[in-house]
């Protein structure tokens, strides 16, 4: 049994490198979707296990991160479909980021709180589109492929996200 089929990707030297390079991006996407650190832990692990199992289906020369984000998105929606009990809760606000100094953390927490509250009121799909476009800076074409919608629909979700968020934030600052 060989993984090196003509159209399939050679697994990289070490799967650990894939994990190191993309864990945070996958984790943050799933955190934006679930809003719960424990669910996010589980789903991120599930995502990388799925990726490990299917590495031979990854197309050489394509965007590895986007591929992982798609697996993560599918894992989230699979779980949702199977069990409606997955709580899509508010994004926890007191999480510590290992990557920010205490000072910036304070500022960002204040600014971020409002945005986070507003984002959690969007539908999951709209939230997904907004996150992928803004944080990962993927094109609408790629966002659409990850989200399993058409490019036009992805644009509409972005339209909705921006309009709703501005309205919410405008109301809270007024």
């Amino acid at each position: 049994m060989s993984f090196a089929g003509a159209n399939s990707a050679e697994p990289p030297d070490s799967f650990g490198e894939v994990v190191e390079a993309h864990w945070t991006a996958v984790y943050r996407l799933l955190y934006s979707l679930t809003g719960d650190p424990h669910d996010t832990d589980d789903l991120t692990q599930e995502t990388f296990l799925r990726a490990l199992k299917r590495f031979e289906t990854f197309k050489k020369g394509t965007n590895l991160r986007a591929w992982l984000l798609r697996i993560g998105t599918n894992a989230f929606f699979d779980v949702k479909r199977k069990q409606q009990t997955l709580k899509i809760g508010p994004l926890t606000e007191d999480v510590k980021s290992e990557e920010k100094s205490a000072e910036t953390l304070l500022d960002l927490a204040e600014q971020g709180k409002l945005v986070r509250r507003a984002v959690q009121d969007l539908t999951e799909l709209t939230r997904l589109v907004f996150h992928l476009r803004v944080t990962e800076e993927l094109s609408f074409k790629e966002v659409a492929e990850i989200a399993g919608v058409t490019e036009v629909a992805a644009r509409q979700h972005m339209h909705q996200a921006r309009a709703k968020l501005l309205k919410r934030l405008g109301e809270s600052s007024a």
Partner: protein, 300 residues
């Protein structure tokens, strides 16, 4: 076009950068206070979402990697998985587990280097010596400035020998890159200032991004990993250090303290901003079109 249609267009625009817009939109926004405000608000909103402090899941990652390293054959269901992640029936769980065990076994028993502390698999196109040099640069940037000279003394000769030995087999592109990595490593040992370091590091990151863009299908995955690894272990921590640097204070009598360079606070801030911008541009470039291909996302 009226404001309403422009604003509808802006709300679903892929990019909020005027450069990416049709000229007519840019012209309108320039001359219209309401539409210009919308663009500003949208940018601010997106910046806030990008910059919020989300957890990175570092602990979960370590647990996952430890599990992998021990070759403690993972099942498709992580240990602490919630009930909703478990397959509906036990036979499904068993089937998933054995499929995974077979897959992992097949992967590990492929010819080539055996499993090390991590799962090592097939050889790649990139010569080992380039991998080694890149890793060396990462070690160098992550070492405390005071420890770098020792690290350099311990490793430089051996690495140069390795490069010399591998030279006949290197492509001209790899040879130039190897030289650049040695040069960067050596210069890092001399520096103890994030602003100076970042010039060197930025240069390597740009080369890595170019190498990804130029790579053929065979090399692409490996080169993408190089780039991501470098961004993650080198560029991002450096950005963090830069953002924490305090501008020099000018004490009475014009004496500058708290900063090793002869820069006034304004010059310092300009330099800090320039660097941030160029590192950011690099990140955007790599996540944008450069790393994508027309094959991406074709449904299987």
């Amino acid at each position: 076009m009226n404001c309403q249609s422009i604003q509808t267009w802006l709300l679903q625009a892929e990019s909020l950068r005027p450069k990416a817009w049709p000229a007519a939109i840019g012209k309108h926004v320039d001359g219209c206070a309401a539409c210009a405000k919308l663009v500003r608000d949208l940018r601010e909103l997106e910046d806030q979402w990008r910059e919020q402090s989300l957890p990175s899941g570092a602990e979960a990652k370590s647990r996952f990697l430890q599990k992998q390293a021990k070759l403690d054959v993972p099942t498709s269901i992580p240990m602490r998985m919630r009930p909703y992640l478990k397959p509906a029936t036990p036979w499904l769980a068993a089937a998933a587990m054995s499929l995974f065990a077979i897959t992992l076994f097949a992967w590990l028993s492929r010819p080539g280097p055996g499993p090390g502390p991590d799962i090592k698999v097939a050889a790649t196109q990139t010569p080992d010596v380039v991998d080694r040099l890149l890793e060396w640069n990462l070690e160098m940037t992550n070492a405390k400035p005071g420890d770098r000279k020792k690290l350099l003394a311990d490793t430089e000769d051996e690495l140069r020998k390795e490069v010399k030995k591998a030279e006949p087999k290197l492509t001209p592109e790899d040879r130039l890159f190897a030289e650049k990595l040695i040069e960067t490593g050596v210069s890092l040992a001399e520096l103890d200032n994030p602003l100076e370091e970042s010039e060197r590091v930025k240069n390597v990151a740009e080369t890595l991004a170019e190498r990804v863009e130029k790579s053929d299908a065979k090399e692409s995955t490996h080169r993408q990993l190089h780039f991501y690894k470098f961004m993650q272990r080198c560029v991002h921590p450096l950005e963090e250090r830069i953002s924490k640097m305090k501008p020099p204070e000018v004490k009475k009598g014009g004496k500058k303290v708290g900063f090793p360079f002869k820069m006034n606070p304004k010059q310092f801030q300009e330099r800090q901003n320039d660097l941030r911008k160029s590192l950011d541009a690099l990140r955007k470039k790599s996540w944008g079109k450069g790393f994508n291909s027309p094959h991406f996302g074709k449904r299987r």
